[in-house]
């Protein structure tokens, strides 16, 4: 086994196990910390694909900012076992069934997709993920969707400020 393959399997196992722990953990703070681990494992995968920019942005934005805000809110809420609402068994069952259905659909879609059939991810080489190439691509071929999404973010930000403001 090549070293890339070993790293790949390690990261995949880490990602899947942490993702399961996110759901299984009793304490919400633990769930958030497991989710941070998931993001790290995914960033590791990006680095294997030589997409360094996406890897680090994933860490800065998700692990470094959004998850900190999640922790922030969770730590301020007093989550005791007594205050937690009792969950209905039927609710849990329907959750499992609908989640399973989604999983089946996703798997069947991936199996049928012809675009990715027979293609192997390029590890360690390829420079599309490097910041120079990515920047040129974003600001030439994809400049319109890029700018539209930035306007969308701006409007979301302004909306949040308006909602948060005491009148």
């Amino acid at each position: 086994m090549a070293i890339t393959e070993i790293i790949f399997w390690f990261l995949s196992a880490l990602a899947v196990i942490s993702a399961i722990m996110v759901v299984v953990s009793k304490s919400p703070v633990h769930s958030v910390l497991w989710l941070v681990t998931v993001f790290f494992a995914i960033s590791g995968h990006y680095i294997l694909l030589n997409a360094q920019f996406i890897a680090i942005v994933n860490i800065i934005v998700y692990a470094g900012a959004i998850m900190v805000l999640f922790l922030f809110v969770l730590m301020l809420m007093n989550l005791n076992k007594e205050t937690e609402p009792q969950k209905n068994l039927w609710m849990k069952l329907t959750g499992v069934i609908s989640g399973g259905c989604l999983l089946i659909i996703l798997i069947s879609l991936i199996r049928q997709a012809t675009e990715i059939k027979g293609k192997i991810a390029i590890t360690k080489t390829g420079d599309i993920g490097l910041i120079k190439v990515l920047g040129k691509e974003l600001f030439s071929n994809y400049v319109v969707p890029f700018e539209i999404s930035s306007v969308l973010f701006l409007s979301a930000m302004i909306g949040a400020v308006v909602i948060g403001k005491k009148d």
Partner: protein, 351 residues
């Protein structure tokens, strides 16, 4: 020698480099604690620690020994695992940053050319940001796991402060990156070493000022040390900690200070560039030139660390609303303005 398609010599070389850099960082941080007490003493007109060894030079070892020998206490009502994880994360995040910093030029040893940088990655400065944004977990997890109201309040303060100032820090750096056109720290230093190129601080004075202030805030140094404001929060987020776990928190702060000084020196003050000296003309000096560069970087860093301490013992702490107001209503607009002006000037010069 290749096994598992790894170049083992490269691996050994990097391992040695990592060990040297980490131990050097720890040693410098150790003596920064001593320097802090001495600087405080000089500014307050008293002798400072002078009992252990000549001029009190063994004081940091005595302090370290004291911290290690003290009783480890884990509070009963705390979350045990996270309580230990807190200081660990703080320390790891503090040390991880040194991986992308160019400490010096290449040296030649045992027939190999060794770059004095662990990894000159494509995303250089973004990596630093990634690690800095993780540093806040150490404070938050430690403060929450202590199960103490004061700790929790301090942790929340620390986290919101770090997030607020990261924003202005990032934007102030974007202006610099527009000039350099690269994120690689090694490349940024090499550009500044060109004979007809000044240090970046000349092109980006406002950017440097903003970055400096944000660095103070990110390191939780006075005047931004709200997370450990003794008069409001007893002792801050490490209230429940004792022995070496407390030591790690205090130590991580000094390592952060050291690393942010190195980054400021690298980005704005030419890194290992020797001022008023053309390195390219003296390439035959070989390893000695590289060594002189490293020493030069260290001198710059020591000056920055002294500045950190000078400010700490001169300026009183902000109030919390003043801190937030400064971050969001002064720093952020100034950083945006700086970015716009830099962009406009670059466009104008290229036309």
């Amino acid at each position: 020698m290749t096994l598992l398609s790894i170049d083992w010599f490269l691996l050994i070389e990097k391992l040695i480099l990592i060990a040297v850099i980490i131990f050097a960082s720890l040693g410098i941080a150790l003596y920064t604690t001593f320097a802090e007490r001495k600087v405080a003493a000089i500014l307050q007109d008293r002798p400072g620690p002078n009992r252990a060894g000549p001029f009190g030079l063994f004081q940091p070892f005595a302090d370290g020994l004291k911290l290690i020998m003290k009783e480890e206490i884990i509070p009963n009502s705390s979350n045990k695992f996270l309580f230990v994880l807190g200081p660990t994360l703080a320390m790891i995040a503090a040390l991880m940053t040194c991986a992308v910093i160019p400490w010096g030029d290449k040296i030649v040893a045992f027939g190999r050319t060794i770059a004095l940088q662990i990894a000159d990655i494509n995303i250089g400065i973004l990596y630093v940001f990634g690690v800095v944004s993780l540093g806040v977990y150490g404070i938050m997890i430690g403060g929450w796991a202590s199960n103490n109201k004061f700790s929790l309040l301090a942790a929340l303060r620390g986290a919101s402060q770090a997030i607020s100032y990261e924003l202005a820090m990032g934007i102030s750096l974007i202006a610099l990156l527009m000039i350099t056109g690269t994120l690689q720290l090694g490349e940024i230093v090499k550009q500044q070493m060109q004979p007809n190129h000044f240090w970046n601080v000349v092109y980006q004075p406002l950017g440097f000022l903003l970055f400096l202030i944000c660095a103070f805030a990110e390191c939780n140094r006075t005047p931004f040390d709200l997370p450990e404001a003794e008069n409001e929060l007893n002792f801050g987020y490490h209230q429940e900690y004792s022995s070496m776990k407390l030591g790690f928190y205090l130590f991580a702060e000094y390592i952060n200070m050291f690393i942010s000084s190195v980054i400021m020196a690298t980005l704005f003050f030419g890194g290992y560039d020797i001022p008023f000296f053309d390195e390219a003309k003296h390439a035959d000096w070989g390893n000695w030139l590289a060594l002189a560069g490293v020493i030069c970087l260290m001198i710059k860093v020591v000056l920055f660390i002294f500045f950190f301490m000078w400010v700490r013992w001169t300026i009183p702490r902000f109030r919390y609303d003043q801190l937030m107001k400064l971050g969001w209503k002064t720093m952020l607009p100034l950083a945006l303005l700086n970015m716009l002006i830099t962009g406009a000037v670059i466009l104008w010069l290229k036309k």
